[in-house]
Assembly symmetry: C2
Homo-oligomer: 354 residues x 2
């Protein structure tokens, strides 16, 4: 049955895709096995993460972006992991669904990953769901998530392009939260930009980006072989002349991310955003930045997955009791938790010898 699911996904059967994503979400091991069958299409889609605080209009923006991508003939899959998204909360937020326009379009697939009310493990489920969608031939996969914490950052890290959505007038608290995730944004959008204060938000974001770039430049100068001088020398060697300009070429992380204004409700600014998203992807493909980004992302996901196998290993060997014994010793203050964890890890390394 699971094997059929994989080949039906490859045929673009949306019901199979939906079923597979459900199984992946449930942590079904056999479903994970299908990923091997889908590997040939891995990395075929352009994965776009759209994140921002609740109330920033991410969902309306996503809705409008879908329309623009469709006009270009691109098939779009959406994974909504934002509990505040109208896409995600069928039961709770059914009446707020703004997606009616795309519901009957076979080129659009929308799936929520928050319906079970569990946030844990969502980052894995999201990454796997992306694989299922690109296997089924979606050109664009949009991950929509609320941008406020580390877990959301993890979810969005699988994206090729991260769009950070801000909005005027959300107050300081929200802005400060955003500060923590500024560095993951490739494109910044100030939505609801017909409101007062939009230009101020744009200026603030630009100022933060400039500060970031300055800090990065400073860090790079201190970074041994990877100094500006070394890079200049390398560029000279490759036939370029002169020092690296202030706004450096793509791939070295120094150029400022674009900041765009939109009014998602009316669609204002959305075609420009669409253009910038696609152009950035093409340029990252050409420069090799995309490959290096995906390499980093795969490496980090691999580590997470191994850690997850470790958890699984313990879950399977609950009878073994080593974890229980160490827990009791920590509870009894005979052992500190750090030492206990080291003991468990050593036992794990020696595990197969027994």
């Amino acid at each position: 049955m699971i094997d059929t699911l994989a080949s039906r996904c490859l045929d673009g059967d949306t019901r199979a895709v939906a079923r597979l994503i459900s199984l992946l979400e449930d942590g079904d091991r056999k479903a994970f096995g299908t990923l091997a069958a889908l590997k040939g299409r891995s990395g075929m889609a352009h994965v776009i993460g759209i994140t921002g605080p609740p109330g920033s209009g991410k969902s309306t923006l996503t809705d409008k972006l879908i329309g623009d991508f469709r006009l270009r003939g691109l098939r779009v899959g959406v994974i909504a992991v934002d509990p505040s998204s109208p896409f995600s909360g069928g039961a709770i937020l059914g009446d707020r669904l703004r997606m009616q326009g795309h519901a009957t379009d076979p080129g659009v697939f929308i799936r929520s990953l928050a319906s079970r009310g569990r946030l844990g493990g969502l980052s894995k489920a999201t990454a796997f769901a992306v694989r299922a969608l690109e296997a089924a031939g979606y050109d664009i996969v949009i991950i929509e998530t609320v941008g406020v914490g580390q877990s959301e950052v993890d979810i969005v890290k699988v994206a090729d392009t991260v769009v950070l959505v801000s909005v005027p007038g959300l107050g300081d608290d929200i802005q400060v939260i955003k500060a923590g995730i500024m560095e993951i944004g490739d494109i910044f959008v100030v939505n609801k930009s017909d409101r007062d204060g939009a230009d101020r938000v744009v200026r603030e974001i630009r100022a933060m980006l400039e500060t970031q770039a300055m800090l990065q430049r400073g860090r790079s100068v201190d970074a041994g072989p990877d100094t500006l001088a070394a890079r200049n020398a390398e560029l000279l060697h490759h036939g370029q002349t002169g020092p690296i300009p202030e706004t450096a070429p793509p791939g070295d992380g120094f150029q400022l991310a674009p900041v765009l204004k939109t009014v998602a409700e009316t669609g204002e600014g959305v075609p420009e955003l669409c253009k910038v998203i696609l152009a950035g992807f093409e340029s990252a493909k050409t420069s090799g930045a995309l490959e290096s980004r995906r390499r980093t992302s795969i490496k980090s996901q691999l580590k997470d997955l191994v850690a997850w196998h470790v958890m699984d290993y313990f879950a399977d060997r609950d009878g073994d009791g080593h974890l229980d014994v160490l827990t009791e010793r920590v509870l009894a203050r005979e052992l500190d938790i750090y030492t206990a964890a080291r003991e468990l890890f050593s036992a794990l390394l020696k595990g197969e010898k027994r």
Copy 2:
């Protein structure tokens, strides 16, 4: 130097505590080693997690609670991991500091864990910082964090008592987010309850708690030996008569969590909250609920720490190149990431044989 730090912590030297927490935050391995020296005081403090959306007044509430605990002669340590907290963001939010009143009180220690702008690993750093604070003799350790995502839930899971702060008028988006973390609350506070809609929020929380309890009751009925009937039989055996009342005794998870109204700005309702927090802790101590909760928490932390050791293991053996090779194979679509992770995990298990 590190050894001195541990003994100075045990002597209650606040500068040593601050230094140790910084080292723990930085992931300093030697600092982790000091935890062994502190183990004798592990679990001595009452750890209180205070969480809620930005703008709910958590910080003002924390500030007022500190005052109440101090009146009872209790020493209070505060760990602020909330980027929107005035306690946490010295540089950004210095002007918003409301803590002047406690700054000179030697019985109060306040430390931020968000100053470095990195959210990753914060859950470990927080758990370890709690150990440092209880070693230094703080009776109460408050962890203040913004409650919106899984990482915050992880942080707050180390607490003995979790206070979930709501506020009227934050809009649907925030309320929906909260829904995801409702289940971690032991005590619910509707702050700014002088505002319109406070009673409605109280009613909504009660309704959610009742639904939750109903679901749990249903689950328990299906849970084999742990059925209501079995528990009734057990209670009868222990000398009680009649069936379990609708609001069941503490420890079986069926009684509803208290919902309190406060106005932190004026201090209204804070003494009652303080009383409820302390009374709940005493009753959990007596009933054994505290021990079983801490057992669960230790076990889950142990698993996380082992997973973290796994990450470390890979970081140390970057030269080994296995991770790099597998990453390239995934990138080249020769392997899917799930299979690659399984291979890495097997290699890890066999690691010490080589």
